[in-house]
């Protein structure tokens, strides 16, 4: 079974400890929802796994092999919070750069097929975000890290994205983080909460209240 695994991840920004011996794993067929308050280290953890941030300490393994930077394996793709594809790049060119295996599926989608010659910067903010999400989801990588994929998207687009994740779940593993926690609960197979620099396994919404992520309104 293909697995992405990070253990003992620790990182400080200045004197502030963001992550302290955090553990996270994700297997193909799983959607791991990563929740946490602002500044809890969700994006930091994803960037450490992807390889764009050097942590103070970590053990990162992909399919049992120790690796240093996730992106160099080409098995891990990362959707950052902000737009990442240069705005002058045409959708068709971006498609060629990121997608090989699922190219025909993407070409059949209206938002891709109709905008192949459109520079990605000329799409609306929501359309651009959806195109970037689709390119990362259908990329050739096996593990997909998504940082706030649902922000900027209309409810119908969020539903569409859920469908794509469900469709690709048998062949890929996902780590998804967002502040729309209901969307995360709906799409995830299991939930991990980052709190006080540590990770907690979450079984239900009660656990999120217990750990102070959700307000207790009882």
């Amino acid at each position: 079974m293909q697995e992405l695994y990070i253990d003992s991840a620790s990182h400080r920004f200045g004197s502030r400890l963001i992550l302290s011996s955090v553990f996270l794993n994700c297997k193909v067929g799983e959607v791991v929802g990563l929740l946490g308050r602002n500044g809890s280290g969700k994006s930091t953890l994803l960037r450490i796994i992807f390889g764009s941030l050097n942590p103070d300490h970590m053990h990162l393994k992909l399919n049992g092999e120790l690796i240093r930077k996730g992106y160099l394996t080409r098995e891990i793709a990362y959707l950052p919070q902000d737009f990442f594809i240069p705005q002058r790049l045409k959708v068709g060119v971006a498609l060629k750069l990121y997608v090989n295996r699922y190219k025909s599926e993407l070409l059949a989608m209206k938002i891709i097929g109709e905008n192949l010659n459109t520079p990605i910067g000329e799409l609306s903010g929501g359309q651009r975000r959806l195109v970037e999400c689709l390119l990362v989801l259908y990329s050739d990588s096996t593990f997909i890290l998504m940082d706030e994929p649902f922000s900027q998207l209309a409810p119908s687009a969020i539903e569409e994205l859920h469908g794509h994740i469900e469709r690709l779940k048998p062949v890929k593993g996902f780590v998804v983080t967002d502040h729309y926690y209901r969307q995360i609960l709906a799409v995830s197979s299991r939930i991990v909460l980052l709190h006080n620099g540590c990770n907690y396994a979450i079984g239900n919404e009660e656990d999120l209240i217990l750990h102070g992520y959700l307000p207790d309104r009882r």
């Binding site: 764009s52 080409r74 990362y78 990442f84």
Partner: protein, 107 residues
Amino acid sequence: MRYKLKTIYLAHFKVGMLLNLWVSAYFTYFFWTRGFDKYPLYTLALIFKVTAYGLGLASEKLLAPKREFYYRNMGIGYRRIFGTLYIADLLLFILVLIISATCRNFI
């Protein structure tokens, strides 16, 4: 991978490549007119090449919009991008110098 690198260079590094080619062409002309046995010229050429490489790197890191994730999602890091570009440029410069020196000896 070749297609990805080609797209990256043509889309984002045209100015840097032109600057490096201009430095190469300028020094080739310099060597051609002054002779290929002026050894300090080689040091000067190397200093100019390194400066041009530094300028290319600095403009990408400091002035250009952030493209880190765009490159890395293709499995390509900055070291690969700049390493390939600069090694190819240096090899091309050396090759042009060797060919010009050989031709000049014949003339």
